[in-house]
Amino acid sequence: MSTPIRVEGLSKRFGEFEAVKGVTFTAEAGSITALLGPSGSGKSTVLRVIAGLDAPTSGRIWMGDEEQTFKTVQERRVGFVFQHYSLFRHMNVAQNIAFGLSVRKVPKHDQRKRVDELLELVQLSGFRDRYPDQLSGGQRQRVALARALAPRPKVLLLDEPFGALDARVRQDLRRWLDDLHRELGVTSLLVTHDQDEALELANRVVVMHEGSIEQVGSPNEIYNDPATAFVAGFVGSASVLHGHVVEGHVQFGEHRVGGAGHLEEGTEARAFVRPHDVRVFAGDRTGGSLEATVERITTLGWLSRVMLRLPDGQVLTAELPNDELEGVELGARVWVDLRRARAFQARDAVTAAIVADG
């Protein structure tokens, strides 16, 4: 049941607009691969081209050893889950799930057996006679998943499957999908703009931006070792500090942070600092700390988000556990340590900064 998906040099134009620009990646057999990117990055187009719903302008698609590029959508045998469920509104749950079997002329008896199996799998056994408009969003998406899985597809393609659901249901379904995938082991490709979803569910993440791939890696690599300024800004939150490269550091005002060893001396650079990599102290403990003023404190439950103004006017965001807030109050002068930063050339970082702020 595990077939890898290989996409080579895939491009897709819509008239003048180049939605996908030569994308190449592999979704490993039996794993979950996430295509992560902001809306308009071309990730859904890639998925639709793999499914055969859209034809590529150029490039090739493989599933296992079989090339799929010129096959019809029906021949590809993919399971596709749409963002807005796309259940057949005039069919009940059982008929929806059985659709892919009945169009392939599977005997009625086997259809029924498979439907029962899947209803149990998606925990909707009591709902077989309900119609889609009698189900909640989460239930509908589970039916859609069961329907996609019924004909035993070679791969499962999920297009923003939880995008239309509210936060709590999304959390539950994400965990449930994770369990389900462990059980089935079907190669899955998940399109999402939600970084938490990608980082939590996927074995590998493909970050896309403006039709191209920015980085491919494990969730850890993507988060801790972003390859481009865009990834640094898009995945996780980060403060962006403007400065110049001095001796492998980004220097701004009187201070500097590391992580710019790969950049040319003297050029403009941007340092990306994660909020949890910022330490805030009421007094100068290390002697080399940055001075800052507390501008705003917002509570995030057990964490607090502290907005700090640096002496040169730049803004830095820190997130601290509430019990480390002692002496950190509105208007107070504090000292800041930056544990880690990632530096990028200024010109690469412009778009990333826009994403990070937004």
């Binding site: 055969g52 719903l53 959508v73 005039h90 859609a144 004909p151």
Partner: protein
């Protein structure tokens, strides 16, 4: 001031009730007077002379022929305009090609053209000297004053109904269910039958109902192309028009002369008369 404030006035809820009741009364009156009353009136008039008068009228050969003819025209029109209507609706709702909006506008044209003009257009095309006349007469096929032209003008007039009912439904549906069906292995034909057709069925049925009603009731265009020859090309509606005319307006024969003349002369001569009369 304070006394003025205390003057009794209708409370908000009472006023709402009054407005609501008023609208309901207007709606009932409007539909009742304009639709229900005439229906009751005609049913009463038909059965006034007893059931035997009614059955005797309905069993006259000319009447039976007229109803059968109306049935044939309606059946052909409904089948053709449903099938082609759905095809056109799919094209208008789904395809993007230059001239699409022009085509969408042309679909409504029959609604804007007077049926009499539709009849005249058919006569001009198929009558003596018309574009298509030589081809058909060379093969001995009678178009005018025969079933083909009657079906043709009825179909023309009924073009918009199915299309106008189905296009908005298709647009609202989008293609997502059809895409889902195709990923599940359904062929285009299976998708159409099991997904698209099921989803548009109410709109389609309503369009068919409108088409049927219009095909039965059409008079102007059919009158001109058929000549209304009793026992040959007289439909039920034309029969009723003639019967009504004879019974109720014996002195007033001017407006009726056109089709009576056609009826008397019949055939090819009638075509000249009709065309001449219109020109």
């Amino acid at each position: 001031m304070s006394t003025e404030l205390r003057t009794p006035r209708l409370s908000g809820s009472a006023r709402r009730l009054l407005v609501h009741g008023g609208f309901t009364a207007i709606a009932i009156l409007y539909v009742g007077v304009l639709v229900v009353a005439p229906l009751i009136g005609i049913a009463w008039a038909a059965l006034r002379g007893g059931l035997s008068t009614w059955t005797a009228t309905l069993s006259q050969p000319d009447v039976v022929h007229a109803y059968v003819l109306t049935g044939i025209i309606t059946a052909i029109t409904v089948v053709v305009s449903s099938v082609l209507g759905v095809v056109v609706a799919l094209v208008v709702a789904r395809d993007r090609f230059p001239g699409r909006s022009l085509m969408s506008a042309f679909v409504d044209l029959p609604l804007a053209v007077s049926p009499v003009i539709v009849g005249v257009m058919a006569v001009l095309l198929f009558g003596r000297g018309g574009w298509f006349e030589p081809w058909f007469s060379a093969r001995g096929i009678q178009i005018l004053f025969a079933l083909p032209s009657m079906v043709l003008v009825t179909m023309f007039i009924c073009i918009p109904f199915v299309i106008r009912e189905v296009v908005p439904v298709l647009q609202e549906l989008g293609v997502s269910e059809e895409e889902a069906a195709s990923t599940l292995g359904a062929s285009s034909w299976q998708t159409f039958l099991r997904v698209t057709l099921k989803n548009i069925r109410w709109g389609l049925l309503y369009g068919i109902a409108l088409t049927t009603a219009r095909a039965i009731g059409e008079i102007g265009a059919v009158l001109i192309v058929s000549g209304s020859i009793t026992g040959k090309t007289e439909t039920a509606t034309l029969y009723i028009l003639r019967a009504f005319d004879q019974n109720h307006r014996p002195g007033l024969d001017r407006p009726a002369r056109g089709y009576r003349g056609v009826q008397a002369a019949g055939g090819e001569e009638a075509a000249d008369m009709t065309c001449g009369g219109i020109r």
